[in-house]
Amino acid sequence: MGYAVVTLMQWITCAEEQFQSHLAELNALDAAIGDGDHGSNLARGFAKIREKLQANPPETPASLFKLVGMTLISTVGGASGPLYGSFFLEAGKIAGEQRELDDATLARCLQAGLTGIQRLGKAEAGDKTMIDALEPAIHALTNKAEMGVAAQKAREGRDATIPLIARKGRASYLGERAIGHADPGATSASLLLDCLASACLA
């Protein structure tokens, strides 16, 4: 299918709603193995994004991604601000001037975003971070999977973080005590993929 800016705006709007409604849950996940603010951080960032989107609706996928990335960087702070921010900034660079992205281009955008996160945060799969949800999902998309399948992969990736010891971020200070808790960033990443899938269906 094709992803025009309206579809992608639905993605971002859904993400805003999801982060808002899962705010307490994401904070609680972060409290267990971090500092308890991941939900508040994302909610703050996406609230600002909504404001900006309403004031100045972007005309291309690239300008949407850029706006989302810049806003996350300038309002979220913490680890997730620069990481998710880079994700969207890098994705936007691939989107170019196109008015509508096809499946393959969107997959390349997301892959570029993932690479951006990894360049910045130096995490690999298995480190108990957002990468664990993003990587399998984006890998599936690159291999032409349906969006619903990708979202499913992200959820599995999130669940797979539960038994892990963390090697990046605050949770890495905990050693074995991180075992038994899902990573908050992997959880928010999975919500992001769920929203992308539902925007496709709409």
Partner: protein
């Protein structure tokens, strides 16, 4: 949540406004983006020191802005690192033409945001050095962690490097001094209670009547281990020994001993910990020649304490003694 606040999302802003109103001679507040700067900034011809990090650690960092210490502090939301543009604007506002030192605590968020800010500043042609503080011996420093956290050494580095900048040292020299302070300092902390984030109203963890979180950071994150309560002298030993062994500090070393309250612990108790820590230091042949006791780097309303030992050389000692004129640390002026 029962705290002296108005809107949960206005806590940091209103507190900074109050602070700026209370110290009009020392600091100024800039809003949108939020940062605190020296009343007399920018100081032309002086290296500018900029730090920052999540709020909830007061008086750090805004309380350390002023002559002889920081030129600017960038406070993020509670426990959330500031953003790159905030750091960029603050740095630009205090830049005196001699470059900028960013003193950054080793948390992924702080490191990433300061790194992005440094890139933005360098694009603007401003020279920026960064020193990442990572003194917390509670965390294993290995390829398999985000590395050690930055804790108490931050306060000492800001004071000592601030004095060096005031005395006219150049950016390379101050960067080297800051690195050497970080290399010569070790810290460890414990909590007797969780803290409650006024923005979310949530306690950071729950502790039993008799339990202590040992090896805690400063963001309400759980510690490495949960242990039963023990007398202050024993708990102090459990903090001091890993610190002393880690560097290692050696017989004959001259040290600064910093006993830091995490927020809700009465000074009465900090003094009891200081007593035990100073005795242990002597027993290990360390010469405690300077000290700091009080709540300087807190975790909101957490009860607990952290201890930092810094091995002093002559220049660190004399910069420590130099005047400092900030809301939270003040002498010689």
């Amino acid at each position: 949540m029962k705290a002296l606040i108005n809107q949960p999302d206005q806590v940091v802003t209103e507190a900074l406004q109050g602070m700026a109103m209370a110290y009009p001679n020392l600091i100024r507040l800039h809003e949108n983006p939020q940062y605190v700067l020296r009343a007399d900034a920018p100081k032309t011809g002086k290296v500018a020191l900029v730090s920052g990090g999540g709020s909830g650690h007061e008086p750090m960092h805004a309380g350390f802005v002023g002559r002889g210490m920081l030129d600017a502090a960038c406070p993020g939301a509670i426990f959330t690192s500031p953003t790159p543009d905030q750091i960029q604007e603050a740095s630009t506002a205090v830049h005196g033409g001699q470059g900028i030192l960013h003193i950054v605590k080793n948390y992924t968020g702080d490191v990433l945001n300061f790194q992005m800010a440094a890139e933005l500043l360098q694009n603007d042609g401003i020279e920026v050095h960064s020193v990442v503080i990572d003194d917390d011996v509670a965390v294993k420093d290995s390829l398999y962690t985000a590395g050690r956290r930055g804790v108490g050494a931050t306060v000492l580095a800001e004071k000592i490097c601030g004095a060096a900048a005031e005395a006219g040292a150049n950016l390379n020299a101050i960067t080297a001094l800051c690195t050497s302070i970080n290399d010569s300092a070790r810290s460890m902390g414990l909590a007797l209670s969780p803290c409650t984030n006024p923005e979310t109203g949530q306690a950071s963890f729950t502790l039993g009547e008799n339990e202590i979180e040992y090896g805690i950071g400063i963001h309400g994150e759980p510690g490495r281990q949960r242990i039963p309560w023990q007398p202050a002298d024993t708990l102090t030993e459990k903090l001091m020994l890993p610190i002393i062994e880690d560097l290692p500090f050696k017989k004959g070393d001259e040290v600064l001993l910093f006993v830091n309250g995490l927020g809700a612990t009465p000074l009465l108790e900090l003094n009891i910990v200081y007593r035990a820590a100073a005795r242990l230091a002597s027993q290990h042949g360390l010469k405690v020649s300077r000290r700091l006791v009080g709540a300087y780097m807190t975790s909101l309303d957490m009860a607990g304490v952290s201890i930092t030992l810094l091995r002093l050389d002559e220049s660190m000692r004399s910069y420590w003694d130099a005047p400092v004129c900030t809301p939270a640390l003040r002498w010689g002026c």
